[in-house]
Symmetry: C2
Subunit: 591 residues, 2 copies
């Protein structure tokens, strides 16, 4: 491809709102342009890399035995109402009414569509397992799209869905997918951190996210430097750090704490550590699943709000995602002050579990492990001391909802955990029967009995994967593409596209093309410096400079430089095509 | 690919609402499933053919020098307001409000998006011509989606847009695209009829549609059996069939025609032919372009409605699309009866051009060619006779708006035209500066002067192209795929997948795969008849039957049958892979 016949509007200026390297470089290199907030159009250069990523993912999906399908992007709202996500997804779901007033969704994901497709034809256990995937446009109506395609509104996702007769079959496909994901990221030269994850609004049992470390990451990861334990803070556990229980605790005692409304003030007032205090928070939950109702008394029902209290050790925070997962709730948030005062019967700052009967009590394990604690007394200016779980109060449910932090003990080996920020590129889930039950999918087992299949789902965001590759592979001058994703393998830069230099450049381009090497020939009448800058900016792995001086050597030579390398090397013209083809071939073959 | 590892839910029943062969067969063969009215999901079998079509189109677009891009599917409504199509497109445009209340469009086409992308970086004439294309999801909120993917709501379109400094450059790209389209359809083994077409709401000067003949076609085509002239009725012209003018015509005379309100009654009453009558119709137009205002007095302005009368010979019909094109109007429709009575000052049935001053008069050429005609007299129960154009009335604009019919004379050679129904698969347009002016695109020419580029656009609907291939290539038993689009090239049917038959089938499959032949191996424990039926239904070009009897021959043989052929042939097992590979190779190479 001659550059004069290509469309490469590179920019010298750094666009003002581009805060991260990939956003800046994708704009500067002419890979994409912004159509609106969170909406980006890929230009020819960007699309070449995008298609290569698509192909890598397709190959690895095919290798797992998954079959490609193409549902529509716009799907009937009815399907989302069947699954319950029409309500549960909130404002990020782009809802549309058509000309006849019927509800539609611009798909953010396709559990419903794929489940609907499969249920139409699924009859027998002989058809299972079944794994289907698509690589297709998705839309999430993000409230604050940022960082270019890293957090855009429209994006392309590969999403696979598998259907199984039993857990063992789901486990096998899940493991196959995990391996496929590792290979995909490896082929993209991406350093990913697989972490244990919460299954979120998708429902289900097990899930793992594939993260890349990033200063602008919207996920917090807890990583063990010793044993390799890795989890999203939304899922992370830690070793118990409860103090040894005392042998005896005096009786519960009410104490005067005039105007002492915060833990900090209370610590100062009583001269105790925050770890001696039980913090009691009121939450409001939506869409709590029915099976929790009996256990906890928390009311279930679609979009019905319900209140409850959470007790946790005073130095810790409650992680709302862990809490929502425990409750199988669509949404969990701190209750409003007015609700807290109504439910606790006291001003803000004096809540506690002793005598609390207006709402169910959910206790973090750290709260029930405390003997002789201090808590609010549900009365203005009053606290209790010597509070003992089991003796003075009981919880309807004891669970782990604390926010794990750097320094907490690894749940596997006890070493101090590290904390990092990460961006999620992929996510694999064991969904269980959430969708297949709600949408009434069934098949006949070997005994002729009707059964509901269990399900897995597996996503990768293509746009943010591509952006993450640039985040990991760039320098001051521009992108440094791994060969597998490079828009072209080789850029030929004739210092002047004329005479013997032109002939040598054209011959090399043609020799490379015969060897399936993708070549960009910079035939523009620009200064060599301009061409070098553009070549570095767009990040082509190999640059061949064709100049009079080296052509005049015996034998004539080209200057070949690997993008990002310090040194160029001189290679005989006659051997250059095979030399470069060899470099490309080794790195672009599927493993 | 083993069939047991593929997903092929074939159906024996013909779905009730599937009225045409492609709709029926795509459902029965398990190529697709319906998600909602006009929304179809491609299953693995269908997607394999779909991707091949996509690749043929991509290759032919690349060969024209067009570069692939990927704008978003959801685009800002602002862009559509800039171009004026937010209003002009009507209810078929799927409009969405996001969570912040901003307007968006689920793209039915991408003139706006591509123009917006190009205007951001276009600076110099050196960047022109520029041709960009996408193969992407589109949405048209069809009021009555029908016939499967032939007239669906969501579909995939290849749409290309070219930008030029001058008409000569546009003409060249337009001609390149026309050739590319012919090659695309040829590679798909489709018989297309390129016809002259109206440019519709897209605006512009020249355009050509690529049609396939179809009994359910929503286009009427006029075709000359003699010289090859071919046009959509929305554009078709014909030879003048005006009678020789009389030497002298008596003066205008008002005649009593009590209660004679229709042309038929009038013909009976006056004992004249309908060809002697001038029919006067009142129309209402929206969005008439400004440059017509001066010429005709028809009011221009976005969404502003304006009325006018059209005169035509009594035996002819007015084609509203031709009329809208003449007026450069967004929409044209017959006026309501109440408007007609108000504007003509008479009851329905007595309109005529003589003395009509309430609205501008547009005359079809057939009306001004008439001397001594009969027309309504703008008065209850009264007509005029001896009406002469020029003497008794004049038109503000004379043009060709008649609906050409079978039997009318070809405008090129005069032979009687044929009429056929057709479906549009592709459409190429010279858009001119409609979008680049409205959206203020400019570049500097060689003299440093700011100029507006001219533009072309070029679309192909992938889904209906695929369906049309099935319409043209099927029989009672199922689809007969041309090799270039076949989901698999060869289906191997072992009569029983066991013992020596299994070994021979597996060996052939492996030998074919080594030769890049795509093989489906029917390893199901089904009766041979079931397998044969499915193979015929899904339309795989070559079927190889592996059976004990032919394997027992010396040398052992396979039975090979071309789908759709009458006879099978026996081929030696050792030669079969190369024999089949040879057949496939010849037909799948790009021309």
């Amino acid at each position: 491809m001659k550059l004069s016949e290509f469309y490469l509007p590179t920019l010298r200026e750094v666009p003002g709102d581009a805060l991260i390297a990939s956003h800046r470089l994708m704009l500067r290199a002419g890979m994409m342009r912004k159509l609106a907030n969170g909406l980006f159009a890929y230009l020819p250069l960007g699309l070449r890399s995008f298609r290569k990523l698509e192909q890598i993912i397709r190959q690895e999906m095919d290798a797992t035995g998954s079959l490609e399908v193409k549902p529509t992007v716009v799907v009937p709202g009815e399907l989302w109402k069947e699954s319950g996500r029409w309500e549960a997804m909130g404002a990020a779901l782009l809802r549309v009414k058509n000309r006849l007033g019927a509800d539609f969704v611009v798909s953010p994901t396709a559990e419903e569509a794929l489940t609907a497709i499969v249920r139409e034809d699924l009859e027998s256990y002989k058809q299972l397992p079944l794994s289907l995937y698509q690589i297709n446009t998705k839309y999430r109506d993000e409230i604050r799209p940022r960082y270019g395609v890293m957090r855009g509104r429209e994006f392309v996702m590969k999403d696979a869905y598998s259907f199984h007769a039993d857990d063992a079959s789901l486990d096998k496909t899940y493991a196959d997918m995990e391996r496929a994901y590792r290979r995909i990221f490896e082929r993209c030269a991406l350093t990913v951190i697989p972490v244990k994850a919460d299954s979120g609004a998708m429902g289900g049992s097990g899930s793992e996210e594939f993260m890349v470390e990033s200063s602008i990451g919207d996920n917090t990861l807890l990583l063990c430097p010793s044993c390799g334990y890795a989890a999203n803070v939304e899922k992370a556990a830690c070793r118990s750090d409860a103090p040894t229980p005392a042998l005896s605790i005096p009786l519960l005692e009410k104490i005067d704490t005039p105007n002492v409304k915060t833990i900090k003030k209370l610590c100062d007032f009583l001269k105790i550590d925050a770890k001696r205090f039980i913090k009691t928070l009121f939450f409001r939950a939506l869409n709590v699943e029915a099976d929790l109702q009996a256990e906890t008394g928390v009311q279930s029902g679609c979009t019905k709000e319900t209140f409850f209290a959470v007790c946790i050790r005073g130095d810790l925070e409650v992680n709302e995602v862990k809490l929502a997962a425990v409750l199988k709730a669509g949404e969990v948030a701190l209750a409003a002050d007015s609700d807290v005062e109504r439910l606790s019967g006291a001003p803000i700052g004096f809540a506690g579990p002793v005598g609390l009967s207006s709402v169910p009590i959910i206790a973090d394990e750290t709260a029930t492990a405390m003997q002789g604690a201090v808590t609010g007394a549900l009365e203005r200016d009053m606290h209790y001391k010597n509070v003992c779980a089991g003796r003075d109060w009981t919880a309807q449910l004891v669970c782990d909802v604390r926010t794990v932090k750097a320094g907490d003990g690894c749940p596997s080996c006890g070493a101090a955990l590290d904390e990092k920020k990460g961006n999620e590129l992929g996510h694999i889930f064991k969904l269980g029967r959430k969708y297949t039950s709600a949408m009434q999918v069934s098949y006949l087992d070997e005994a002729g009995k009707s059964q509901t299949p269990t399900m897995g789902c597996y996503g990768i965001g293509l746009d943010r994967t591509l952006a993450s590759v640039i985040e990991e592979h760039h320098d001051e001058a521009g992108i440094i593409w791994p060969i597998a994703l490079a828009p072209f393998h080789v850029v030929i830069v004739p210092v002047k596209y004329d005479g013997a230099v032109k002939t040598a450049a054209d011959t090399l381009a043609s020799d490379l093309q015969k060897r399936n090497v993708e070549v960009l020939l910079d035939d523009r009448p620009e200064r060599a410096g301009v061409k070098f800058n553009d070549a570095d900016l767009i990040g082509i792995p190999y640059r061949v400079v064709v100049g009079d001086k080296n052509l005049a050597q015996t034998p004539p030579k080209f200057e070949i430089k690997r993008r990002g390398a310090d040194q160029a090397e001189l290679v005989e013209c006659g051997a250059a095509a095979e030399y470069l083809a060899g470099k490309i071939r080794v790195t672009t073959q599927a493993p």
